[in-house]
């Protein structure tokens, strides 16, 4: 495994005071916290920072890390010194205990409760932890339902699953897969796996829960005469007769044409009237004629 330079990761000097370390962590946490940050790779960065902070903010861990790690550089190949035992574990509050859930092997080998070998000696049964992961789904697949092959890493072991994504799932919703989380120890129950659904952005359709939104271009005559037009929906093109004198911005509701469910969502098509560009004298004359015969000032009619 690789040696981790916690000072470098956190961007503090080796002589930084506890106060400086805390301030630097807070500054970086505000920037990279994955629930807030829009930065690329924020999640990975934040995980590394959290781990570095966990060690450097704890005087006992920091001292042990400093003694053991002098002479190593970040990325050096590393094995803990033989007989390494960290017994300086300060009484941990719940905040610390839970924060350590997914630290690196490097951290585990030095300070972890599941240090190599420890698992084999455990004689009492323990339930496996629930796990959480995210999965990207195309909008079309969310509409029809689909099968997804996913590969994920649970407690360092890779796991592959074929899962069914039911039709009509909403963005951000979570699917619970019973027993697919961390395995239980000594007869303990397996944890569950929660998969958070992220529906990918679509070039034509936008979602709001189960409702689907679309901007629909129409010609002036289709709008004025209330003609029958074709409207794309996730379930295929449907024919729809516009109300006469429809205007740009007007919303047409297609009941039940959104994501399936009970009740299903609706589709809303916002009309946008596009004018044809006159390409010759005759076509230009048509506009001239309209101007003469249909005096109209949209800025006054409001």
């Amino acid at each position: 495994m690789d040696f981790k330079d916690y000072y470098q990761i956190l961007g503090v000097s080796k002589t930084a005071t506890l106060d400086e370390i805390k301030k630097q962590y807070r500054r970086l946490a505000h920037k990279y916290h994955p629930d807030i940050s829009k930065e690329k790779g924020a999640e990975e960065k934040f995980k590394a920072m959290k781990e570095a902070y966990e060690v450097l903010k704890d005087p006992k861990k920091r001292k042990a890390y400093d003694q053991m790690g002098s002479g190593y550089h970040g990325g050096d190949s590393f094995t803990p010194p033989p007989g390494w035992e960290f017994d300086g574990a300060t009484q941990q509050g719940p905040r610390q205990h839970h924060a350590q859930a997914d630290f690196s092997d490097f951290f585990e080998s030095l300070f972890g409760q599941n240090k190599t070998g420890a698992r084999h000696h455990q004689s009492f049964s323990q339930d496996g932890q629930d796990q959480h992961s995210k999965i990207q789904v195309a909008l079309e697949d969310a509409f029809t339902g689909c099968k997804k092959h996913i590969a994920l890493s649970i407690n360092g072991a890779s796991k592959e699953l074929n899962i069914k994504i039911p039709a009509g799932i909403i963005n951000g919703q979570q699917i619970r897969l019973t027993g697919q989380g961390s395995p239980g120890i000594q007869g303990g129950k397996n944890g569950d796996l929660y998969l958070e659904i992220h529906i990918q952005k679509h070039p034509t359709f936008t979602l709001d829960k189960k409702d689907v939104y679309l901007t629909l271009p129409v010609t002036p005559w289709e709008a004025a005469l209330g003609e029958k037009i074709e409207v794309p929906t996730l379930g295929g093109t449907i024919a729809f007769t516009l109300p006469a004198n429809a205007q740009t911005g007007q919303k047409i509701r297609l009941k039940g044409r959104g994501l399936p469910g009970n009740p299903p969502g609706d589709q809303y098509a916002t009309l946008a009237i596009y004018i044809p560009e006159p390409k010759n004298a005759e076509q230009k004359a048509l506009y001239e004629k309209m101007k003469m015969e249909m005096p109209f000032n949209p800025r006054k009619s409001r």
Partner: protein, 101 residues
């Protein structure tokens, strides 16, 4: 390979108190405090009847992360979770408005 189906967590398929604690790796006490501070609201009158839906699960997960990672107090956590929800709604609204054919 076998295809497995899960349960979608929504307003009908909910989680119990123990289940939500395990799902987000939180102490019992943290969930109780999130309820006391109105950050999440379960259905049901007492602890044994509590049911947590998809919205509660999502908000609890965010709150948990802020609690353990940012050392924010509960007033701050409530504010952050509300703000994140509002930003999400606004971003969605902007996307709808920007949409071109």
């Amino acid at each position: 390979m076998k295809i497995i189906s899960g349960t979608i967590i929504d307003h009908e398929s909910t989680l119990t108190f123990e289940e939500i604690c395990r799902a987000i790796h939180a102490e019992d006490q943290l969930i109780v405090q999130l309820i006391e501070y109105h950050i999440i609201q379960p259905k049901g009158a007492s602890k044994t009847d509590w049911q947590f839906d998809d919205i509660a699960l999502k908000r609890a997960r965010l709150a948990r992360n802020f609690y353990y990672d940012l050392e924010v107090n509960f007033e701050g956590i409530g504010l952050l979770v509300d703000m994140i929800e509002r930003i999400g709604a606004l971003e969605n609204e902007i996307e709808k408005l920007r949409q071109k054919y």
